[in-house]
């Protein structure tokens, strides 16, 4: 077999291992799905009536209008929250003994991380389907056609891929599993500082500027455009650029950390 074939085989082996972990211990997946669902219900039923009335141009007002507005934001926070799992699973591996075993075997470089990242991506997509199901059950309606749904799924997958690599790198950088479960927390905060929950126009000047330029806003707006109408191209370009940049930088960082890991551990 060629080395490329080994890379694919080894990554598939590692992916199977990570999927087995997820299936055997579903509590992490359920927790990752639980966070966005709680936010969805909280924002729609507690704040939604009031927030929906002040949306202005975004609909007839009230809770129904807010559901339509907030679901793209919820899908984004789902991606951010699901990415937390990657840092935890990567750090669990890195602080355990098995990683040393992998590193003394002729396994293709990056297979361990690739297995984690693809496993997390599949996990995130499953959680997204669950969250979307709850959204539809509480009254979210989309006018999107099949092509627009596919484009939205593609946007979510690309952004998830970027955040998962970032989370994997944070998991590599963490000295313990506890640290790894804390450092990526800012990812779940950023959607609140974007256009996900309220229009950026309602924010004070400094925050508004931050919000308009941070990556979560163009991704949210792209989804919103695809699922509930609105401009798409103007948001899609920065959204894709952000995702590609985060994915590439995080990938390089994670691989670098993986390759030089434990070089400084004393006997």
């Amino acid at each position: 077999m060629t080395s490329l074939a080994y890379t694919v085989t080894d990554s598939a082996t590692m992916l199977r291992r990570n999927l087995k972990h997820q299936l055997r211990y579903p509590s992490l997946t359920l927790m990752l799905a639980g966070i966005p669902i709680v936010f969805l219900l909280l924002f729609v039923y507690v704040f939604g009536g009031q927030l929906g009335n002040s949306l202005g141009g975004h609909g007839a007002g009230g809770r129904d209008a807010y559901v339509t507005y907030v679901v793209p934001g919820i899908l984004i926070i789902t991606v951010a929250s699901a990415a937390l799992g990657t840092a935890i699973s990567v750090a669990t591996d890195m602080t355990g003994g098995i990683i040393d075993r992998f590193r003394t075997m002729a396994i293709s470089r990056g297979a361990v991380l690739t297995g984690h990242v693809i496993g997390s991506l599949l996990q995130t997509l499953a959680v997204l389907v669950l969250v979307l199901g709850v959204s539809l059950a509480i009254g979210f309606r989309s006018h999107a056609n099949v092509l627009e749904w596919l484009a939205a799924a593609g946007m979510l997958a690309l952004f998830a891929f970027a955040l998962i690599w970032l989370s994997a790198a944070l998991g590599m950088a963490a000295k313990s599993v506890e640290t790894a479960s804390n450092t990526p927390m800012f990812l779940t905060l950023l959607p609140f500082l974007s256009s996900g929950f309220v229009p950026t126009a309602s924010m004070p000047a400094g925050l508004r500027q931050f919000s308009e330029y941070e990556p979560f806003t163009p991704v949210t707006q792209t989804l919103r455009g695809l699922l509930t109408g609105g401009p798409i191209a103007a948001h899609a370009i920065p959204a894709i650029a952000w995702s590609a940049a985060i994915a590439l930088a995080s990938y390089l960082w994670a691989v670098r950390l993986y390759n030089r890991r434990r070089a400084a551990t004393p006997s």
Partner: protein, 326 residues
């Protein structure tokens, strides 16, 4: 050295490694002949684990020339990794998988193929007495079972060189004997084994060659028998009820050194039954009562003491010292 390694499985010259200011390995040379068991003996912090981590490509040395199976660990790490198996000090198993799944994972990563992989896994489960627990989660495994699974995982790819870092630390005596048996069988099959240990009896029991590592340097090397020959022989230790008996005995037995405080007399000797009988007969003829007697054969702790001036390694069990109560 008695073994002249025509084709050394492991050869390391002038290996150095420090972590910051702390020098862990200070020019270590070692050569391990193919198919032999080599033991790196030393107290905690001597640098044993660091040496294993360097030899098994986990970390890079600061300097030195290291070859495993004829491949340079720095230039061709993957060629080395394809030959070796490593069982570290801390268990390297996947706790979320069953024993069988752990072994399958190794078979897949060694690219054994489906059928051959299954066969190898079944064979190892059988050999390591894990067949009944194969499909149980690892949380139900005992320490000895985990260690056996750990070693079985190392063996999936039929490695020709195996590194065992303190393979029996923390095991109960019975599991320890089982592990020794497995290690001996591996060597019989022609596998080269480098094991680290802080137990003298373990090195004595298993190793063809022993190197004593202390503060990052090899302070003694040879077969266990050669090392023991380098130090003063064993002795018989006699304890008496009072100083009178002690003095009387000391006058009678040449080359004995009395200790008035503890009423102890140490009689150099090889610890054989003949020499013991001679001493006891002499004392009996003179009607001197011995309160307490023990025989001490030279062991690797004496070697360690002789070469470093410290007694830093503890025997796991007092196998060498039999205490007789008259």
């Amino acid at each position: 050295m008695t073994i002249n390694p025509a084709r050394p499985a492991i050869s390391a010259q002038a290996v150095r490694k420090s972590f910051g200011e702390h020098i862990v390995l200070d020019g270590v040379d070692l050569t391990v002949a193919e198919g032999t068991i080599f033991s790196l003996l030393g107290p905690n912090g001597a640098g044993k684990t660091t040496m294993v981590r360097i030899l098994s490509t986990l970390i890079a040395a600061d300097g030195g020339d290291i070859q495993v199976g004829g491949h340079d660990v720095v230039a061709e790490p993957d060629a080395v990794r394809a030959l070796i198996g490593v069982t570290g000090q801390f268990s390297a198993v996947d706790n979320y998988l069953t024993g069988e799944e752990n072994l399958r994972l190794m078979a897949d990563l060694r690219h054994l193929g489906r059928a051959a992989g299954r066969r190898r896994v079944a064979e190892l489960l059988e050999r390591f007495d894990l067949t009944n627990a194969a499909r149980k989660p690892l949380s139900t495994y005992s320490g000895g079972m985990r260690r056996r699974l750990d070693l079985a995982m190392t063996l999936v790819g039929n490695p020709s060189v195996i590194f065992l870092d303190e393979p029996t630390t923390g095991l109960d005596p019975r599991s320890r004997r089982t592990m020794w048996q497995i290690i001996r069988e591996l060597a019989t099959d022609g596998v080269t084994i480098l094991l680290t240990t802080q137990y003298l009896d373990e090195a004595d029991e298993l190793a063809d060659q022993v190197a004593v590592l202390d503060h990052g340097r090899i302070v003694a090397e040879g077969t266990p028998a050669e090392l023991k020959r380098r130090i003063p022989g064993g002795h018989i230790q006699l304890q008496f009820a009072d100083v009178g008996d002690l003095r009387a005995a000391a006058r009678m037995i040449a080359a004995a050194a009395p200790d008035d405080d503890q009423l102890i007399l140490q009689v150099p000797g090889d610890g054989s039954v003949g020499s013991l009988r001679r001493v006891l007969n002499e004392l009996d003829d003179a009607r001197i009562d011995v309160a307490h007697l023990s025989i001490h054969s030279p062991d690797l702790d004496d070697v360690f003491f002789a070469v470093t001036g410290r007694s830093a390694i503890e025997p796991a069990m007092p196998l060498e010292e039999e205490v007789l109560q008259p």
